[in-house]
Subunit: 274 residues, 2 copies
């Protein structure tokens, strides 16, 4: 049997269901940036039920880096509030598996690993507010230049819960000084996608020593008249999960998000009951 | 020893700490509407830890009636993200205790009932958006007339989680037709306080047969040119908790809310770490 492969360009005008179907049958394994425009994309954390209460408490206490947009029943691979036909074991194009806090493997299907006690927590992601910035003619440098957003460990303490604690990871986007208020106002409309910036200006004020040396992602140029603006980053909960050294924890791979049926500008991230 | 009593009027210009202190020492047992203006007031649900994960899942799936603004550690009577010095066993002026889903008693201190496995979940309340409507010259009839807001069981199904399920309870406020869009826009800014209305107009469309016969609270007049507007109500989670017949569940008494240190218009309901 030859497996038909689907190109990124084939999926550009596809619905969330169509993109997830291509991923589920294994014909698309690429990143999801720019796909299913206008729909919510999600960071993923899949963990054993006995850690789920503390993890939800942690997310509630740190809503800017960890905006919860969906939580599964224990052992249930569906996420009916995010999509009509989501199977979280197969509908993400790349997963990362961690055991005892150590990276174990990157795979494109976790059906074999699924157990009755796993809980999926879906978290909002920055694609949502970046799309809104672009629609309002605010430049987003890493998108313009085809790079990954630069991410930095800050010195901002997170509110702990159970085994979960640490420092906030932030993203940086250079914004023209005259557009900072507008960028703040626009991103604040998306509390499910990290909300308003957590800081503006001097990187040292939040413990970043060198903006040209991001801890993850790519450095980007800050042009004359631009100011670095920092947002809470979805890598935060991933780091915190790893540091907690859970026996098993599964996340999406960076850029390979879960695409939901929910509109990214919906008032809540919950699909109504059918 | 004579216990000094504090009058409502004595507390009108008090801080949240001062109001909670008066409640804690037993000198004030009244309602909290209008106290600590500008600060978040909260509905309360205190329940055994083994039900907390499902209850948080239920709240996540029903964010408009159940906006979570704080969750305690198990057995911890403090809520540090909501206030510096909250003791949830004594800082609410009246509590209702339910056993196996049946009302057991109304008391003003739950220290004797506290156990190591209780979890407090604090939920946003409608005071927040009502204050915002009033500030914008939108009339709120039940406040004008010194009554309780009328509340109705709707036919809107809630998204279930574990033992928690049921129908949404809604409040009704008559709004002048010309101000409905503004009322919607203002309340939508407060997702932690039930957000935008869930319906406008015909009560039958959401299963309400007679607006003059509320299930809880008081009927209010709908004047010429006004339209009934419905918001999700914090009585919803209380009903759902009772229907789940937990061995023990403690709530605030209606109108006797927890007053937090958090500003009601803050971007998140989390106080920064000190």
């Amino acid at each position: 049997m030859t497996l038909q492969t689907t190109a990124y360009s084939d999926l550009l005008n596809s619905t969330p269901e169509q993109v997830r179907a291509a991923i589920r049958r294994g014909s698309y394994t690429g990143h999801t940036a720019g796909l299913a425009t206008g729909k919510l994309q999600c960071n993923l954390a899949i963990l054993p039920e006995r850690y789920a209460l503390d993890f939800l408490r942690f997310c509630q206490r740190n809503p800017k880096p960890c905006p919860v947009v969906g939580v599964s029943d224990s052992g249930d691979a569906n996420l009916p509030t995010l999509g009509r036909d989501i199977d979280i074991r197969s509908d993400v194009s790349k997963y990362r598996v961690f055991r005892d806090g150590v990276f174990a493997e990157e795979i494109d299907d976790i059906t074999e690993l699924w157990t009755h006690d796993l809980v999926t927590v879906a978290l909002g992601c920055s694609f949502t507010f970046e799309n809104a910035l672009l629609r309002n003619d605010i430049p987003v440098r890493h998108i313009e230049t085809g790079r990954n957003v630069p991410m930095f460990r800050s010195n901002i303490d997170l509110m702990p819960a159970g085994p979960f604690a640490g420092k906030m990871v932030v993203t940086m986007r250079p914004i023209p000084e005259s557009q900072i208020d507008q960028a703040r106002e626009i991103s604040a409309r998306y509390p499910h996608a990290h909300g308003a910036p957590i800081g503006v200006g001097d990187p040292a004020s939040i413990g970043i020593s060198d903006l040209s040396q991001p801890d993850w992602g790519d450095a980007v140029e800050i042009k004359a008249g631009e100011v670095p603006v920092y947002w809470a980053c979805g890598v935060t909960p991933q780091n915190v999960l790893l540091d907690a050294k859970l026996p098993l924890c599964i996340t999406h791979s960076p850029g390979h998000m879960l695409i939901a049926d929910v509109a990214e500008d919906a008032e809540t991230t919950i699909l109504p009951l059918q």
